[in-house]
């Protein structure tokens, strides 16, 4: 077992430091991106044009399950990173696979949720509200799906190469991305769903 040095492996080269800083900046851009989507949603949430409102169609239970799945996946992602810091490839891979399964479960639930809405007569084309709603959620869902593919590719690279400065950096960045999606989801839960119930 390698002992913990003062700087983690993913920060061990100058190029790695730059990649990680670059990714933080990218997340800054992502914050603006989602903030814009939220702003659009707030402007349009009343624009239901005789179509259904959120309170009329959504199933709290499903949303809570989605929340549970995604929050847990963020936690297991943290565990995977912890294993990486201890240079334990096997443990790292196990937790990563669990993370991906939870992520896939989230996507499964969300797709179900969308199908349910369509059955209730709420599609992208129904009203300004549904357009904004599906776009906000869809963008988040697309990000999660992208993350699943991305992290799958990283698993392959980890199996091929083990924990090296490069793979650890890539994995660290992917984990930042994954946590970020979790944070966005909490905002969606609060400002879209819970607010939708109250309104």
């Amino acid at each position: 077992m390698a002992s913990q040095t003062s700087t983690p492996l993913e920060y061990s080269t100058h190029q790695n430091e730059m990649n990680i800083l670059g990714f933080w900046l990218f997340l800054g851009a992502e914050i603006v991106l989602f903030a814009t989507l939220f702003a659009g949603y707030f402007v349009l949430e009343g624009g239901t044009a005789d179509g259904p409102t959120l309170a009329e169609i959504f199933v709290l239970n499903d949303v809570l399950i989605e929340t549970f799945l995604l929050l847990t996946s963020s936690f297991t992602m943290g565990l995977a990173l912890h294993q990486m810091r201890h240079n334990n490839l096997k443990g790292m891979l196990i937790f990563t696979v669990i993370t991906l399964l939870l992520g896939a479960g989230f996507m499964y639930m969300e797709i179900n949720e969308f199908i349910h809405y369509v059955h209730e007569g709420a599609t992208l084309q129904t009203s300004a509200f549904t357009s904004a709603f599906f776009t906000l959620l869809g963008t988040h869902g697309a990000h999660v799906s992208f993350g699943i593919v991305w992290i799958t590719m990283l698993i392959i690279q980890l199996v091929q190469r083990g924990i090296t400065p490069v793979t650890s950096r890539k994995f660290f960045i992917a984990s930042l991305y994954w946590h970020f999606l979790d944070v966005v989801w909490i905002f969606i839960l609060t400002f879209v769903y819970l607010r939708g119930v109250l309104m």
Binding site: L25, F26, A29, V32, T36, G40, V43, A128, L154
Partner: protein
């Protein structure tokens, strides 16, 4: 879709353009094949990750786009040169002012500035390259693919026609059922992704790759402005991304973000567009400020006056630029209180801008001014830009704006800001940094022709627009009657635009002439300049610096020169690590282009199939572990000997 809908037909001029485009492509392919240059182009340019070459490609593309946008401008001026002319019909005019605006801002100003930044920025901070060279290449190719996609619109499918601002509901399918505006939505989206990547790339480069000892307050002014511009890019471009996404969903997938009948809100588009659009004008003008600062200091033989206040004012301008977007639609039903707030924030921008103007003037005071071309452009910038600024403050007054909103007065104003603020700067920058790129200076005498024709033509073209604008001529009018009395003004303006065009032609001639005849024997530092980029050969060696320079103060290079300390020690030269070329960026761009094209034509199945290529490209680059190569110290030594003459 039938063939005659696919190609734009029925207009002889466009038919001729189609033939000309076809022949040019065939001719180019034949010429390159004949000269057997494909391999050279592929290895040295298409797959390059060298920031200097990428910068040069940006500049070439930007100049070509300037030509395209300029022709649009000339056509508009020709159409309005006399009352009642029928050179262009209303629809055609609409398409031309739309493509003109988009091309000038996104495909001319942005690439020219980013191109110059690419060439200069790493050199100014003593770096070997940018932080992410491959991403840099991808940014360029995405921009280039997007520009090509946008440009084919006038021969294939039809051009967008709702103005570069693309206001809804006009830009929606109800009023613009043709696919023209799809070109806008998709091409800008692709270009925007590339720009965002550039912004991130430059921020990391500047923050993490400066030469040892170069603290933030010892950075050259152009580096500072590039940094602030990059931050603005990261803050503003995601807004455009989402606005365009909404537009795409509305136009192609039946969503209702902007349709009032279904609960949507066209004002959402206006707000998002200008939340990006206003910072965007500062994104293009700030780097220009940086260039002027470098050039004025160099050719006044003095250090920049008020360096600290310059830095503070750029940051202040950038900050304020995010807070003023409503001044673009004072007349669209805001409350008086809202208008007043935005009126005040807008006028506040004049303060830091004024500070900068005075700093430039004080830099020149008591300096030994050399009237080189680069300096001439900087000098012409100051009065012209001030006219633009003062008329901007006039427009900023909400109550008064009700009078001249959307008139030619506005068109005159923003050309007085954008042309001195961007185009003059690009010219100044090109004359100044040309030797860094190509190893010779542009001809100063032909340059003076370029200068005088362009500056005089510019004022002739746009000054009359202030007067017809105040007299009530609205923007985007394609014709007018004799009785308005505007004919003399607009006729004069049309003549001016020809003078302007002659100025551009003089630049092109200058480039041609200098390539053939200019002296190649100019050394590294032909202007006796102050900043680190002049500590390299001209043109710059591929590795930039044989030994990373060390910095203890602002204008280190100048100080070293005065103290005779610019010597290189042989023992210090080591092997230099370089990144490898990559074909992935250009291939990705082609994939983006194809997917974009199918999306524009709403052939969604094909678009979906080809997006697999994009994903494959991403996966390929994720699995790419190429770590670059080393230039051996011996070879570095040889190269350095050749241009320094000592060692």
């Amino acid at each position: 879709m039938k063939l005659d809908e696919f190609f734009v037909t029925g207009d002889p001029i466009i038919f001729l353009s189609q033939i000309a485009i076809g022949l040019t492509i065939i001719g180019l392919v034949a010429l390159i094949s004949y000269l057997k240059k494909w391999k050279y182009l592929w290895q040295e340019w298409f797959t390059t990750v060298d920031h200097k070459k990428i910068g040069i490609m940006y500049i070439i593309a930007g100049v070509l786009m300037f030509f395209r946008g300029g022709v649009d401008g000339l056509m508009m001026r020709a159409q309005t040169s006399r009352p009642g002319l029928e050179l262009l019909d209303g629809q055609h005019y609409d398409e031309i002012f739309t493509t003109h605006g988009v091309v000038m801002i996104l495909f001319m100003a942005m690439p020219l500035l980013i191109g110059i930044m690419n060439v200069v920025l790493p050199l100014q901070i003593g770096a070997r390259d940018v932080a992410f060279p491959k991403l840099n290449a991808l940014s360029f190719w995405l921009f280039f693919g997007a520009a090509m996609l946008f440009n084919i619109s006038f021969v294939i499918g039809g051009s967008p026609d709702a103005g570069w601002t693309n206001y809804f509901p006009l830009a929606g399918v109800e009023f613009s059922p043709d696919i023209g505006n799809n070109f806008y939505a998709i091409a800008l989206q692709i270009a925007g992704i590339g720009t965002l990547a550039t912004g991130i790339n430059f921020i990391v480069t500047i923050l993490k790759m400066r030469a040892p000892g170069m603290t933030l307050m010892k950075m050259p002014m152009f580096t500072w402005t590039s940094l602030v511009t990059s931050v603005l890019i990261v803050a503003a471009f995601p807004i455009l991304t989402i606005a365009l996404l909404m537009m795409t969903l509305d136009r192609m997938f039946g969503a209702h973000f902007f349709t009032v009948a279904a609960g949507g809100d066209p004002m959402l588009w206006l707000n998002l567009f200008w939340l990006w659009g206003h910072p965007e004008v500062y994104i293009v003008v700030l780097p220009a400020f940086g260039m002027y600062s470098e050039i004025i200091a160099t050719f006044s033989r003095k250090n920049l006056f008020g360096y600290k206040t310059m830095v503070i004012s750029i940051v202040a301008i950038a900050f304020l630029s995010m807070l003023v977007w409503v001044h673009h639609f004072y007349t669209m039903g805001n409350s008086a209180a809202v208008n007043s707030v935005f009126s005040v924030t807008t006028m506040m921008i004049a303060i830091p801008t004024g500070v900068k103007i005075f700093n430039w003037l004080f830099t020149m005071r008591k300096g030994r001014i050399q009237f080189t071309n680069a300096m001439m452009w900087s000098l012409a910038f100051i009065p012209c830009f001030t006219i633009g600024g003062v008329t901007g403050v006039m427009l900023a007054m909400a109550a008064a704006d009700y009078q001249y909103h959307n008139t030619m007065f506005l068109v005159a104003h923003f050309h007085y800001v954008l042309i001195p603020g961007v185009v003059f700067a690009v010219f100044a920058g090109l004359y100044y940094w040309w030797p860094k790129m190509f190893g010779f200076t542009l001809n100063e005498r032909i340059g003076k022709w370029h200068f005088w024709l362009f500056v005089i033509g510019f004022n002739m073209t746009f000054m009359p627009m202030f007067f017809v604008g105040l007299d009530g001529m609205s923007r985007r009018m394609y014709t007018y009657s004799e009785s308005t009395g505007w004919a003399p003004y607009l006729g004069f303006s049309a003549i001016g635009s020809l003078v302007l065009a002659a100025g551009f032609a003089a630049l092109v001639y200058n480039i041609y002439w200098s390539f053939r005849y200019a002296s190649r024997d100019i050394g590294g530092d032909p202007w006796d300049a102050r900043t680190l980029e002049w500590d390299t050969a001209s043109p710059v060696q591929e590795y930039n610096f044989a030994v990373t320079p060390e910095v203890t103060e602002l204008d280190q290079f100048w100080k070293n020169k005065k103290e005779g300390k610019n010597k290189l020690k042989k023992e210090e030269i080591k092997d230099i690590h370089m990144p490898s070329n990559s074909g992935i960026p250009i291939i990705m761009s082609v994939a983006f282009g194809i997917v974009g094209f199918f999306l524009i034509f709403e052939w969604f199945t094909l678009a979906a199939i080809f997006s697999i290529a994009i994903i494959a490209g991403l996966i390929a680059s994720s699995f790419d572990y190429d770590d670059g190569y080393h230039i051996p110290a011996k070879k570095v030594l040889e190269t350095e000997r050749k241009w320094r003459g000592d060692l």
